[in-house]
């Protein structure tokens, strides 16, 4: 009897072992959502959806054919041109899509342009007025920002791209020394970019030329927060830095316990920052002094940016547990709030608070979007709706 099946069996076993050992490389991703004029725009795992914020009714989906998968997404969608254009950047197909919002007549494409012209998924037909097709070589993780007729976004290839909002043509590109996963920030005519090469760059908005750069101790993934005339940014060495907007000079540092991945949150003259070990810090954004006697701590891994409600409650997303932790923003004390949903999944994305509602996008859960009442933490709806 031939024993050919033995090596084949061994190889099959090895295949199973190796594919099972891919070590955290999951198809799942965290993405973000925005809420505008009663509509929720979310980059889902495989598509982009627009939902009624009150009823959760699906208004439109892109691509409209369920078989087409343009995900996964990490970047939060961005609205432009008086909310008539939705800009989403894909991690999987390395493509920026400019989509028409609202209902569109039959025969009209939802896609206004893509960058690059040919989408990497191969599932879409390039339109003749699209950009010059130079395109980005890496994946998009951070979201972009709209300013002065441009859409500016960082890419995994280490470049920051500025695209013409009207046609997606590349206006300029600036190369950093590492992946750019943080959102760029625009103040007046300057773009601030934090890179995983451990630098913060200030660029001219018009042409992308360098104004100044400041080297930090480690990689930066969190979007900088602008408070007054300074920029606060955290890095993987566990430090928060306050840089002068004018020249990038380091004014002061604050040392946390672990990586700062979530973007710090600047509100008035206060800065809230959370490291991935769940330590939450409240600082005076001007002096850098701690506002709480000791950092608050949530027993969880935290990646997403917290949100501050009008009632002064700081909501912190817990990645491991999938729970939202509520803290008193004045003292850092925990506040009882909300109920743990069944099978909460994980919560690596930001918390969004709009109109007394709390929006989150869990992963590894049956729902991709969950909406809670701010007043009592009750689950208002989830998308897709729970199966009975």
């Amino acid at each position: 009897m031939k024993r050919w099946w033995i090596p084949v069996g061994i190889l099959l076993l090895l295949s199973v072992l190796l594919s099972g050992c891919a070590g955290g490389v999951r198809q799942d991703s965290w993405s973000g959502l925005i809420v505008d004029e009663g509509v929720v725009y979310a980059a889902n795992s495989a598509d982009v959806v627009a939902l009624d914020a009150t009823t959760a009714e699906l208004l439109w989906r892109f691509p409209d054919a369920p078989a087409k998968n343009i995900g996964p997404f990490y970047a939060t969608p961005v609205l432009a041109e008086e909310a008539s254009l939705l800009l989403v950047a894909g991690f999987g197909d390395k493509t920026v899509y400019a989509l028409r919002t609202g209902l569109i007549p039959a025969g009209v494409s939802r896609v206004v342009w893509t960058f690059p012209t040919e989408t990497n998924s191969g599932g879409l037909i390039a339109l003749p007025w699209q950009g010059n097709g130079e395109g980005a070589g890496g994946q998009y993780v951070g979201s972009g920002v709209v300013a002065d007729g441009l859409f500016i976004i960082g890419n995994g290839d280490g470049f920051v791209y500025a695209l013409n909002l009207s046609n997606g043509a590349q206006v300029w590109a600036f190369q950093t020394g590492g992946r750019v996963w943080a959102d760029p920030v625009v103040v007046d005519d300057e773009v601030y970019v934090a890179s995983m090469d451990g630098h913060v760059y200030a660029l001219n908005l018009a042409d992308g030329t360098l104004r100044w750069q400041q080297e930090l101790d480690a990689a930066v993934t969190g979007t900088p927060a602008v408070v007054g005339d300074a920029l606060w940014v955290g890095d993987f060495s566990g430090q928060l830095y306050q840089l002068s907007l004018a020249d990038g000079n380091l004014r002061q540092t604050f040392t946390g316990n672990d990586w700062f991945w979530a973007a710090p949150l600047g509100v008035d003259e206060r800065l809230f920052a959370v490291d991935i070990s769940g330590y939450v810090y409240a600082l005076d954004a001007l002096t850098g002094e701690a506002l709480w006697p000791a950092p608050a701590h949530v027993d969880d891994l935290v990646r997403g940016q917290p949100a501050l409600t009008a009632e002064g409650v700081l909501l912190v997303p817990g990645h491991e547990s999938g729970l939202i932790y509520a803290l008193d923003a004045e003292t850092g004390d925990p506040i009882p709030w909300g109920l743990a949903p069944e099978r909460p999944g994980r919560l690596p994305s930001d918390v969004v608070v709009v109109d007394e509602r709390v929006y989150v996008m869990p992963i590894q859960a049956e729902a991709r979007i969950r909406v809670f009442s701010m007043s009592n933490g009750a689950l208002l709806w989830q998308y897709p709706a729970a199966t009975q």
């Binding site: 009897m1 031939k2 024993r3 050919w4 033995i6 090596p7 084949v8 061994i10 190889l11 090895l14 295949s15 072992l17 190796l18 050992c21 891919a22 070590g23 955290g24 490389v25 999951r26 799942d28 991703s29 965290w30 990490y74 991690f91 993780v141 590492g178 992946r179 996963w181 995983m196 101790d217 480690a218 990689a219 993934t221 993987f236 060495s237 566990g238 672990d258 990586w259 991945w261 991935i276 891994l301 990646r303 990645h319 690596p348």
Partner: protein
């Protein structure tokens, strides 16, 4: 438990070498692969000595199979007593593989996790890094994954590494697998000599090139070890032959182990 005992130490070793030896991921991967292979050297040696001795016993085994083809119980007893007589533990070869394979899979996992090509992968990484303040290993993440034309977190776009993986895997299979007197075993061995390198090439084409670097280095170290220790394999076989000759003089009825015949053209 798997992470704690196998993967995490390797992740930290990778980060340690990265931090203190040139901040080059390729160098770190090479050093950790080398360290693991060196750690496994006694096992590899023992495994191959056993393989050599078992190979030398093949003609004798065949005789026994012929003699007791209708009495499997007796055959098993005779085989075991032959192994005992020659001082061979037939399970020791398996034991080596049983320990090596998980370590190799662990190293593979450590490389993939340390390269952390996706945001979720990177988010998973800090909980595997030892919190030793003076080492500060978490501050060096993410590692520089650029090397020559390669992004170590992505497959090689020019297929150089997959080809190297295929060639070195074939060479290693060819060198380390002894020919067998049993036609069925020989057929299986030959099949493995082709399918294994093809499989490794396929994996290299589709997975992170950092993994291909590990495959190539691991194969090269295996080949080097074979050259360095081949005298010991020959000695192992030689001892068996001497033992056989000695037995022939004193107890001709139980002799029969013959030295491996050289292949003639």
């Amino acid at each position: 438990m798997w992470d704690l005992l196998v993967v995490d130490p390797m992740i930290n070793m990778l980060l340690f070498f990265y931090k203190f030896v040139g901040q080059q991921t390729v160098v770190a991967v090479a050093l950790v692969t080398l360290a693991v292979r060196l750690l496994l050297t006694p096992l590899t040696l023992n495994q191959q000595k056993t393989a050599g001795r078992q190979q030398a016993l093949q003609p004798k085994m065949k005789e026994l199979q012929e003699k007791y083809k209708n009495d499997k119980e007796r055959l098993a007893q005779e085989q075991m007593s032959l192994y005992r007589e020659m001082g061979i533990n037939p399970m020791s070869g398996c034991l080596g593989s049983l320990i090596q394979l998980p370590l190799m899979i662990g190293l593979y996992q450590a490389i993939i996790r340390t390269l952390a090509a996706t945001p979720l992968g990177l988010l998973d990484l800090p909980q595997h890094i030892y919190n030793i303040s003076w080492l500060d290993l978490s501050g060096i993440v993410p590692l520089n994954s650029q090397f020559l034309w390669l992004d170590l977190a992505l497959p090689d776009p020019y297929f150089v590494l997959p080809i190297l993986v295929g060639v070195t895997s074939w060479l290693m299979q060819k060198m380390l697998t002894p020919p067998s007197a049993d036609p069925q075993t020989q057929s299986m061995t030959q099949s493995m000599q082709i399918t294994m390198p093809l499989f490794m090439t396929f994996i290299s084409l589709n997975y992170a090139s950092g993994l291909s670097v590990y495959f190539v280095i691991s194969n090269l170290v295996g080949i080097l070890q074979f050259y360095l220790f081949r005298n010991q394999y020959a000695m192992a076989r030689g001892e068996d032959q001497k033992a056989k000759k000695g037995k022939k003089k004193t107890a001709p009825a139980t002799s029969g182990a013959t030295p491996r015949k050289k292949k003639t053209a």
